[in-house]
Symmetry: C2
Subunit: 350 residues, 2 copies
Amino acid sequence: MITINDIAKEAGVSIGTIDRVIHNRGGVSKKTEAKVNAIIKKHDFKINVIASSLASNKKFEIATLIPEFDSKNTFWKSPMMGISKAKEDIEKFGVKVNSYTFNQFEVSSYVSQFKKIIASKPDAVIFTPLFGTETQLLAEALDNKKIPYIFLNVNLDGFDNMSFIGQDSYMSGVLAGKLMHLSINDDASIAIMQTRINVDNNHAIYNRISGFDDYFTDNNISINRTKVTIFNLDDTDELKEKLHDMFNANPTIKGIFVPSSRVFSFANCIDNSKIKDLALIGFDGTEQNIKCLEDGRVSFLISQKPFKEGYESIKLMVDYLIEKKRPVSKIYSPIEILTKENVKFSMELK
Amino acid sequence: MITINDIAKEAGVSIGTIDRVIHNRGGVSKKTEAKVNAIIKKHDFKINVIASSLASNKKFEIATLIPEFDSKNTFWKSPMMGISKAKEDIEKFGVKVNSYTFNQFEVSSYVSQFKKIIASKPDAVIFTPLFGTETQLLAEALDNKKIPYIFLNVNLDGFDNMSFIGQDSYMSGVLAGKLMHLSINDDASIAIMQTRINVDNNHAIYNRISGFDDYFTDNNISINRTKVTIFNLDDTDELKEKLHDMFNANPTIKGIFVPSSRVFSFANCIDNSKIKDLALIGFDGTEQNIKCLEDGRVSFLISQKPFKEGYESIKLMVDYLIEKKRPVSKIYSPIEILTKENVKFSMELK
DNA sequence: GTTAACTTCGTGTGCGTACACGCAAATGTA
DNA sequence: TACATTTGCGTGTACGCACACGAAGTTAAC
């Protein structure tokens, strides 16, 4: 393995000069440059990434901004954990990650956090552009400063974002439709549970419902589907009552589709005797959901590996910052089907 | 980020001593060691892999031995690609990977390749212990030389292997059973396609069939299941004839379970008009299988991410060689369900 | 001869690694 | 007891390889 030193000797110049040639930093005569390049080519010299990253003590800062999570809305916990994991992994490369969160129900919190980020002069930003209009303005600030940014989980068109990482929510809805179709008889009917606007990750939810609906429409399956709206998922009494009314009004309901990560809330409000005959399908392998899956109260969970999304978004950005590798513009996470049988193997390897 | 130097200062000793503590090289008094360890723990010091691998100009060599693949038996292609990818990734850490393959139908090829590996004096070996008796002898040689090894894809008990990475084939069979059950009516019947012994990855196949069977038995589902044996999958004529006979003999067959990666062979030998009403379930997201999935001739594929298995086995070993991190003794890959809807998102991120 | 503009050199830096060596206490020997 | 030898514990530092910047050398221009 040839080193910069060997080249310097062979070319009869110092390693400083070699370094300038390699990095095109100028200040080298045409003659010397040609000579050095010839030697580099001759020996197929490749820069030693290890030594390089040790020497170039460049310190990058990446800022991340995603919605906060709490014990009820745990959706954003996984991406955050992925970000944290990536943070550890890349620390050794001298890249710092500063994580910010915002309240997804308050535009003002989004804006103010974003402004903080811009003020911190990061080298790159990874964020969830939940609010279109405001993002317009904020992204412009990043564009002006030539700060690269990646959209995480929510995609908006017409922006200069380097990439988008997230799920194809529509397709995951279609898949949910298929699984539901397999799980119930054709003469049964289905309830689609909706929550009030501004729910956790509501952008995706809308698409999931479309996909779910379209599966039945496109395949000419005439299973009856009812949309039921719940106002407060944390109000167990309301939920139980609503469900009770629902089953009374429509006793043929055998499938319940919950297009959010809250399927466990429903599972916990249905009697054990009744739930046996029901197919519940929901999203995201959160702790509570997995519990329901394991004891058979939920049939399928669809997960988009949100941990990995968070993790990869950082890794991608680091690859860009350090090695100038531009990622592709859209990266879809896998749409994973979780069942009782495979769930315990579904956590990330390692 | 805390360095070895900071620790030395804080402990009031030299960095040499810190190094000895970190690597357990002895020659440090209990007192000093405790003190240093406390500081290491306090600051959560992690060795800087970059600097470490630069300094220790050690060149590790990992040998891998897995079955060869060809255009028909493509199962082993993915692990090999995972190995190749990992190879690239770790090259910069001064770790070399030498890949060997053997003919899975010839014990002698396994043994001779293994002997080559031992002769090459590798620092670690990753291999598929397909033949038990022979492995006994060969693994002993590794034990004697204190060369660590990981089992890939096939697990054998009673060995000193550092870890096993592979799938829980039994459970993937159970899952296949569940999906099959969902896909057909209770009055239909199922054909389980067996191939002659010595088929690609036959170890797993046996377990898959057990799992599949047990799903029905354990859940008291009385769907009729027939086992059909095919001698040569590459003989299209034999296959077509067998299938034809089978459907004649048992017209209620609506589900076909192929416990290997060869489900595409079956799909390609069934008329388009007939296949519409059939549920075909197979294993592994090989190119040909995915094609069948996409055009609807196969309902489900179950995949254990063999690429990732290959990739992770190397990474795990590198972590051990460089950082002395011992992996857990058994690592199961996810049992992934592939459908028409999610298959295009299932390739690895990046 | 002075200045400015180019080129190139030399070296400290990043962070561990590993080995040579120093020093003191413990043990051995006569 | 007096001295030598062995152990045990630590120190100091030369690497590994590229990076980056101040300083010095060279050339050309006026």
